[in-house]
């Protein structure tokens, strides 16, 4: 029975509980090849020949519809086999955690640390493989967005063992689902409870850390109208919500919970035990400040560093009208003229840069080794799952376009470009400027031509 389940897992991994398509078809007026490439570069992790073939066959509107309501899909055989072979794919977290906990207590610290490291690297590799190869590109893209929004730091405590599960069960299934479900899944995941110290928050021994970041970073935003008092009250609500160390699973400890009445954002929360978490998350997920904060952040990610306020307003309305249906909010964004006008103008962060280069270079050919990719991301200042602070990586150009980072990018471009003996597909860029053409003409080899293409100003944008 377990074997059967295991075999079935990777196939459904792509869809989770994403609501089935009840969306109107996306209206998409123009559909030239250049626009399709630009659309791929913005909505997916980057255009390559195979994804272009797909969008050219479907048309942009249907392609977007499919991306918004993804059907189960597997990766190319080698990549899928690599994922299926991972411990984090084959064994449930409770089992992995139980074994690790035994190792830790039997004071085999070295084996414990090694295993943590191995599990963390598996999770990193799985994320990279999916970003590079998954047909459901938007879902992978949004999974990264939410992993960053609900950031946890893999090097805190045992988190390297949990981070794969956090992505797989808390984030990915809800990446295009309802914000309330997503928030709930993060609030009940041991990775978050450990990372922001709520596992230690108990009556009389208050720890404000999660309460503050839950409002400031996950829901309302720093200008969302809460006070220091609200932070303290929410911290009291959150007392007792912790982690059972044996199974590494969410556990409510009633005796650690503060039973007193709390006043949160003008609402009274009376002693409701485990139910208080639902009340608080309802309040936060449905607060108007949350809709605005989340929609603006999505628009920064998908449109511009300073997104047009009118677009954010329309998205906020959709968020309110659909009870935070993320796919519907994105649909409002994708059909907007502001979105279409912005294509090609967003600066890539290191993750976008690296994955888009690899998608172009590899297409459906296998990635020999994920480790150099992990190293390259770290060198450019965006190591995967390793942002120590809960704010996640910034999404705007100023944070990634510094002199030092660009120099590092060019050197990383060389490492990628020189692996390919033939010229890369130039069609991955909608257009090239005159200075870029001139430089490309001076390349002395296809490898150098590839270096220049991947170093060009055009390739830095999406």
């Amino acid at each position: 029975m377990r074997l059967l389940l295991i075999a079935a897992l990777p196939v459904v991994a792509g869809c989770g509980s994403v609501p089935q398509a009840t969306l109107d078809p996306v209206a998409w007026p123009e559909d030239s090849a250049a626009v399709q490439v630009a659309l791929l570069n913005r909505v997916s992790w980057g255009a390559n020949r195979s994804s272009f073939g797909e969008i050219a066959a479907l048309g942009s509107a249907r392609w977007l519809d499919r991306q918004l309501a993804p059907a189960p899909a597997s990766l190319p055989a080698e990549a899928q086999a690599a994922i299926d072979g991972m411990t984090i794919s084959r064994r449930p977290l409770s089992e992995i955690a139980g074994e690790l906990e035994r190792q830790r207590r039997e004071t085999d610290r070295q084996a414990y640390q090694q295993e943590l490291g191995r599990l963390g690297r598996e999770a990193q590799a799985r994320t990279l493989l999916r970003a590079i190869y998954a047909p459901n590109q938007l879902q992978e893209h949004m999974t990264w967005f939410w992993m960053n929004h609900f950031n946890v730091y893999q090097f805190k405590g045992p988190l390297r063992a949990l981070i794969g599960d956090y992505e797989e069960r808390a984030i990915r299934p809800h990446a295009l689902g309802r914000f309330r479900d997503l928030l709930d899944a993060t609030a009940r995941h041991p990775a978050m409870l450990i990372y922001l110290d709520n596992a230690r928050n108990s009556a009389g021994r208050i720890n404000e850390n999660y309460a503050r970041e839950l409002m400031e970073l996950h829901t309302l935003g720093v200008d969302g109208g809460y006070s220091q008092r609200d932070v303290q009250e929410l911290a009291r609500v959150l007392t007792g919500f912790g982690v059972d160390p044996q199974s590494a699973s969410f556990h409510f400890y009633p005796r650690r919970h503060d039973p007193g009445t709390k006043a949160l954002l003008g609402t009274t929360i009376r002693n409701g035990g485990a139910g208080e978490l639902d009340q608080a998350l309802d309040l936060l997920a449905r607060h108007p400040a949350t809709a605005r904060f989340i929609c603006r952040k999505l628009a920064v990610f998908f449109v511009a560093d300073e997104p047009p306020p009118a677009l954010v307003e329309r998205m906020t309305q959709t968020f309110g009208a659909t009870d935070g249906d993320i796919a519907q909010v994105l649909r409002t964004l994708f059909v907007s003229p502001e979105f279409r006008a912005s294509l090609g103008a967003k600066f890539k962060d290191p993750m976008h840069y690296t994955i888009s280069a690899l998608r172009l270079v590899l297409d459906s050919r296998p990635l020999p080794d994920a480790q150099p990719v992990i190293g390259a991301l770290a060198r450019m200042g965006q190591p995967l799952f390793a942002r120590p602070t809960p704010d996640g990586y910034p999404l705007t150009r100023t944070d990634w376009a510094s002199a030092g980072q660009l120099t590092a990018r060019f050197e990383i471009a060389r490492g990628i470009a020189y692996r390919v003996p033939d010229r890369l597909w130039q069609g991955s860029l909608a257009s090239l400027s005159e200075p870029t053409r001139q430089a490309l003409e001076q390349a002395v080899s296809p490898r150098e031509w590839n270096l220049l293409l991947l170093s060009s100003p055009e390739f830095m944008q999406r």
Binding site: R200, R205, E216, A403, G404, L406, R414, S456
Partner: protein, 384 residues
């Protein structure tokens, strides 16, 4: 002092100042401790009974601290590093320092400090270090970080180099020129050129060390190893520098005289001492300011840690710093004087403190300082 030695020393000092005045008015390194370090366990208020009462598990005992004065003592982890500088008179502390910002948010308060704007103003056009670079004219500025920090954003050209893992350059001069050419009509043209230039500078100053290191790569473990590299680059090429040191957000198990915070402090102290030593003669013209976004709660929390607070302690180090003292406005440390009954108050506005310091360091007058810190009132605590 021996009169002869005094006379012999005087002209040398005078001429050095004369020579350096126009071109080299001083070097500044800002060290930002990200995460809000627990200032009350670093400059320890040993004269406060409440400190010991409210921190039953993490307070540092009166007999464990390094002697400062009857009110304050220094964390013992700084014994062999920062404390000797302090005793020599090359380090001072400014307690009750901080911002008007009461969000107690790391990110909001860090941005506040780096932008350096008056309360109620928030534009991201420029940070105070960039405006300082602009006031100083053609002074070269560098950030030893992966990203250019908010403090350095703005009009003046600022480069960044990460000294964590700088290997030998992978591109030759021709390829670099071809790449720079592609950017000539873009807003990134200068940035790309600066990047290649600072790459060259790193190779020139640290090339030998890199060649000696395995696989031509420097593998710095933390601040201790980076700091002397920073000093060599600043000595050679840069007047303004910035670096981040993280890991100060001690909500859980921060420890006291030993433990987590003690280890972080020991590393920081060793790095700063190594920086001072590696600056060699230039240390005399150099000032290092150590800041953090806020202090932490005066009471320990339920997890033998501390939560986000308000006022903090800034450190000012340098060869010409008038140190061995605790400077600025002060108040008796007690429960009754806490801000909102939980934190140190911020009596020394960071813009006033830094403004006053920059005034001394660079001879900047009120109009110039007003550009660096608009609508601030610089306070001169005669730190130089």
């Amino acid at each position: 002092m021996n009169r002869r030695r005094f006379l012999a020393a005087w002209p040398a000092l005078y001429s050095a100042q004369l020579l350096s005045a126009p071109a080299a008015p001083g070097r500044l390194l800002v060290v930002f401790l990200r995460g809000g370090y627990d200032a009350a366990n670093v400059l320890v208020p040993i004269g406060s009974r409440d400190y010991y009462e409210l921190r039953p598990n993490i307070a540092i005992g009166r007999d464990a601290v390094l002697a400062v004065d009857s009110d304050w003592g220094l964390h013992p982890a700084l014994r062999g590093s920062l404390y000797p500088l302090y005793v020599k008179g090359e380090a001072a502390f400014v307690p009750f320092a901080g911002t008007y910002n009461l969000s107690r948010s790391h990110f909001e308060t860090q941005d506040s400090i780096e932008l350096g704007q008056p309360a109620g103003v928030r534009t991201y056009a420029s940070g105070f270090m960039n405006r300082l670079a602009a006031e100083l004219g053609a002074q070269r500025a560098v950030s030893f970080t992966n990203q250019v920090p908010v403090a350095f954003r703005g009009e003046a050209s600022v480069t960044n180099v990460s000294l964590n893992a700088a290997g030998r350059a992978a591109l030759d001069a021709r390829q670099s020129a071809l790449i720079a050419g592609m950017y000539r009509d873009t807003p990134l043209a200068e940035t790309v050129k600066d990047g290649f230039a600072s790459r060259e500078s790193v190779m020139r100053e640290l090339g030998e060390e890199m060649a000696a290191a395995s696989r031509n790569a420097v593998n710095a473990r933390g601040f201790v190893e980076q700091a002397p590299r920073m000093a060599r680059l600043m000595r050679a090429d840069y007047r303004l520098g910035f670096v981040d040191v993280g890991g100060w957000d001690t909500h859980v198990g921060e420890g006291g005289a030993d433990g987590y915070l003690a280890q972080r402090l020991a590393e920081l102290g060793r790095g700063l001492a190594a920086f001072a030593a590696a600056m060699e003669g230039a240390w005399r013209d150099t000032v290092v300011v150590v800041v953090s976004e806020f202090g932490r709660t005066f009471r320990e929390n339920g997890n033998r840690g501390t939560d986000h607070g308000h006022g903090t302690v800034y450190w000012v180090l340098g060869g010409s710093v008038r140190g061995a003292r605790v400077a600025g406005e002060q108040v008796r440390v007690a429960r009754a004087t806490l801000f909102e009954d939980r934190d140190y108050p911020a009596l020394n506005d960071y813009r006033a403190v830094l403004g006053g310091l920059f005034g001394r360091l660079y001879g900047l007058g009120a109009p110039a300082l007003a550009k660096v810190f608009p609508a601030a009132a610089p306070r001169d605590f005669a730190l130089l």
